[in-house]
């Protein structure tokens, strides 16, 4: 069974991946499976979010349903069909 999560990307990531994309992932999904699918859909931009070992870069900020997902285990955070996952690089406002 697989289903769709809604992904939003901002700033440099928006230019690479698009600002709104629907990503199909196998259920149960996690932050890891979502970012790996985004990288698979856009191999030339994969290095923006994944390091050489395929892990999510620490500098990438991840929100699920507008809540920041931080800490060591964040790649295991569960993502459900219909959830919104947002990805963005370090911020530079002000």
């Amino acid at each position: 069974m697989d289903d769709t999560v809604h992904v939003r990307a901002f700033a440099r990531f928006r230019e690479v991946f698009g600002d709104n994309l629907e990503v199909r992932v196998a259920v149960p999904a996690t932050v890891r499976s979502v970012v790996q699918e985004i990288a698979r859909m856009n191999p030339s931009g994969a290095h923006e979010i994944l390091d050489g070992e395929g892990n999510l870069r620490k500098s990438v900020i991840v929100l699920v349903n507008r809540e920041r997902i931080a800490g060591n285990g964040r790649e295991d955070y569960p993502v459900r069909p219909g959830d919104e996952v947002a990805l963005y690089p370090p911020v530079a406002g002000g």
């Binding site: 700033a11 900020i61 507008r66 947002a86 963005y88 370090p90 911020v91 530079a92 406002g93």
Partner: protein, 132 residues
């Protein structure tokens, strides 16, 4: 007033509106597009989250420093050299708390709130590096 907006703002109106009976000091920070070899910039935000974060930062500043009034206005969209980017207005009984709270707010915005700047130079465009 806390908002992320495409519209310009009038400093004197906002500062005048902060002037109320219990306030003895108003400190403001006004961020402007600086002419350091750029023609302008696009300011982008994850607006729904940025506005919620600004509300939370204002509330934190009120609690931490005991200030009575906070305005934060951050612009998005295309801005030219000399345009306003951000305005923070803090009102307090005494100056010390107002200075500290104002600095706290701009520092928190720069490290936390999802806003980015893409600069336009003669050579092309570049994203301002975040990451503090």
């Amino acid at each position: 007033m806390i908002k992320v907006t495409r519209d310009d703002f009038d400093l004197s109106d906002i500062i005048a509106a902060a002037q109320q009976g219990n306030i003895g000091a108003i400190v403001s920070f006004h961020g402007i597009v600086r002419d350091d070899g750029i023609e302008g910039m696009d300011v982008e935000a994850f607006e729904e989250v940025a506005e919620k974060d600004l509300q939370a930062i204002a509330a934190e500043a009120e609690t931490r420093f005991g200030v009575a009034h906070v305005d934060i206005i951050h612009r998005v969209g295309h801005l030219s050299v000399g345009d306003s980017i951000v305005l923070i207005v803090v009102g307090a009984s005494h100056r010390k708390a107002a200075f500290l709270a104002c600095e706290y707010i701009i520092d928190r915005i720069k490290e936390y709130v999802p806003i980015w700047k893409k600069e336009y130079t003669h050579e092309g465009t570049r994203w301002v590096q975040g990451g503090h």
